[in-house]
């Protein structure tokens, strides 16, 4: 009898598991190139399909859940975080009392009710599970064009796209087409100088 209860409990636990994937490995990697003229940051972004065909890495490993569930404690953390923090209806943002931003990539993509979100290994929410898809865009830096694209994520929701900073911030509004996304999130090369430096070339100032 006791064995039966233990087995049924284990089955319940397995059913309760959320399909969590290791973010950096599971997400298709794209590289995007800048489609505007040099210095003009108001232009749009286009995926470089050729590069994707040649260099893009596609991971088909379906066993990546093990990366999250290294042990029972970690699994419990993930489950409890889901239960406490991401209630969409009348959600309480208790975790926000201690704002937590993991400093680097290493998040987990997780799925809840068919929607994707991001969380840390400790179960702290980074982005709530409201997106149909989340795609990682590589950092791209073009010194000759004097601008850099920070590591950024493309999120897709309600047939609209937006860009998200890796800390979970949406940095653009939602647009119907990827090409419409504004590039306000660009960290221009003009903004990377120290206070004791001269910002050069002069053209970076605009005037």
């Amino acid at each position: 009898m006791l064995v039966f209860f233990m087995l049924s409990g284990l089955c319940g636990l397995l059913q309760a598991q959320v399909p969590v994937q290791y973010f950096e490995k599971e997400i298709p990697v794209y590289r995007w190139t800048y489609g505007g003229v040099p210095g003009d940051t108001s232009d749009l972004f286009y995926p470089d399909k050729e590069w994707v065909n040649v260099h893009a890495l596609v991971f088909t490993d379906v066993d990546s859940m093990q990366l999250v569930y290294r042990n029972v404690k970690e699994h419990q953390k993930v489950v409890s975080a889901r239960a406490s923090d991401w209630k969409r209806g009348s959600r309480e943002l208790r975790k926000l009392d201690s704002v937590y931003f993991p400093p680097v990539f290493g998040y987990y993509l997780y799925q809840q009710d068919g929607k994707f979100g991001l969380m840390t290994a400790e179960g702290t929410g980074v982005a709530s599970p409201v997106y149909d898809q989340i795609v990682f865009l590589y950092q791209y830096y073009a010194p000759q064009r004097q601008w850099a694209l920070c590591p950024v994520l493309l999120v897709h929701s309600n047939r609209q796209y937006a860009l998200m900073h890796y800390s979970g911030f949406l940095v653009t509004r939602f647009c119907k087409r990827v090409e419409e996304l504004p590039s306000a999130y660009l960290m221009n090369a003009a903004n990377g100088f120290k206070i004791n430096q001269k910002v050069e070339p002069e053209s970076l100032w605009g005037f």
Binding site: L93, H165, S167, A184, N191, K194, I195, N196, F207
Partner: protein, 426 residues
């Protein structure tokens, strides 16, 4: 009373009361469409890239718009990195501004300088509501009115160009909270030991008190763990562009280039402007604030918190600087007058209190085109009718957030009209 007398009474009554009724029914004017000369602002962030939340602060800062009481005069550089964790000093900021000829660039922006070194007055005319044709520099220099207009633009607009440099430093409350937590846990342990000792001695009062201390200290440690909220210290350094008639004369005489300038002269003038030390920024002062406790109501994301905390702290600094420096004060248009009470789109964000005093100004354009401001009265905000326009106050459901404007009561003066301007008195 006869019918005739009754009619007379009605006519007189209408003549006497009618105008007041009409004045009382003045509709609010759309402040967006109101033309008045605002000061111009270039602001940038001093970032501390090694500090916690540095990149989040960057993103939030770069996404914040220029306050609506100022014209956006931003240059491309909106972020500069500090050399360490500590806030930068005013002299370091001054050094950066000087090394990079920011004053000259601000002037170049005023006159839409292009890559060929050509200027125009379109921006000046637009912000000053001048006639661009009358402002044509070559023509204006030859007429008294033209010269007066250029001088007026210099005094009212170009001379009111400010640079605010916001140095935002994250206050690491987690360390403090951990320390507080450790202390409270120690207190809880001591109290627990006392409880055990008291129960052995059968001293019930002491047992109850010790248990209460133990439980409250344990609760305190939980709260302290959650105290690790987001807080920042913001120091704002304020600089003003130096612009006067003598600088303006040299600029128009020696550096001005437009479509009619001969090629050889254009090149010479262009070079002169690019190597000029004529323009400078004057350091006015600095102001420091620590962000207040964040109200979590209406906050839906981490981004919201940081944006709210940073935006409010910076707004408080702007208010502090406005109080300290007369030149930095802003004028706000009166958008409606009702029963002698004045309404304007200004509120808690601008530091309004029931005790604040404002002068009501009437802008008068003289014959030569110059604008002068004449004080026509004094008003004070009406208690309970102060608009809470602080960042995200509406989402927070703060009291007064739904007012859309502040109502002022008259202290002195005559009749006020929409379009007049109000400016805070010290």
């Amino acid at each position: 009373m006869g019918k005739r007398n009754m009619m007379r009474l009605l006519v007189w009554g209408f003549l006497l009361v009618g105008p007041f009724y009409l004045v009382a029914q003045v509709r609010p004017t759309n402040p967006e469409s109101m033309q008045y000369k605002r000061s111009s602002l270039y602001s940038f962030l001093v970032a501390h890239p090694e500090a916690k939340y540095a990149s989040q602060i960057d993103y939030v800062y770069l996404g914040l718009p220029t306050p609506d009481k100022y014209e956006d005069h931003n240059l491309n550089v909106r972020r500069v990195e500090a050399l360490s964790f500590r806030p930068v000093q005013a002299y370091e900021v001054g050094g950066f501004l000087k090394t990079n000829h920011v004053a000259r660039r601000l002037v170049a922006k005023w006159f839409n300088r292009d890559s060929l070194g050509r200027f125009d007055v379109d921006l000046v005319a637009e912000r000053g509501n001048y006639n661009a044709t009358e402002m044509d520099v070559a023509q204006a220099k030859m007429s008294k009115r033209g010269l007066a207009l250029l001088s007026d633009a210099g005094e009212q607009l170009i001379g009111n160009t400010f640079v605010t440099v916001h140095d935002i430093v994250y206050v690491d409350k987690e360390q403090q909270a951990q320390l507080a937590s450790a202390i409270l846990q120690a207190v809880a342990q001591v109290a627990m030991a006392a409880t055990v000792a008291a129960s052995v001695d059968e001293d019930t009062d002491a047992e109850t008190i010790s248990a209460a201390i133990a439980s409250s200290a344990a609760l305190g440690s939980i709260i302290a763990d959650n105290l690790a909220g987001f807080k920042v210290k913001v120091t704002t350094h304020l600089f003003q562009l130096v612009w006067n008639d003598s600088i303006a004369n040299i600029f128009y005489e020696n550096y001005w280039v437009d479509g009619n300038t001969p090629e050889s002269e254009r090149l010479a003038r262009k070079r002169l402007f690019e190597h000029s030390d004529l323009f400078s920024l004057k350091y006015l002062g600095s102001y420091k604030v620590k962000s207040e406790k964040t109200v979590m109501k209406g906050v839906h994301s981490n981004e919201d918190i940081i944006r709210k905390v940073c935006a409010r702290a910076m707004d408080r600094n702007i208010v502090g600087l406005q109080k300290k420096f007369e030149a930095f004060k802003v004028k706000t248009p009166v958008i409606a007058v009702e029963n002698g009470r004045v309404m304007a789109k200004i509120g808690l964000k601008e530091g309004l209190k029931p005790s604040s005093k404002f002068e009501v100004l009437q802008a008068v354009q003289r014959e030569d085109g110059r604008t002068v401001y004449r004080r026509v009265g004094i008003v004070k905000p009406q208690k309970g009718l102060i608009w809470d326009n602080r960042y995200m106050a509406f989402e927070e459901l703060a009291k007064g957030a739904d007012l859309q404007m502040t109502t002022f009561r008259k202290i002195s003066g005559g009749t006020f009209y929409p379009g007049m301007l109000i400016r805070q008195l010290k």
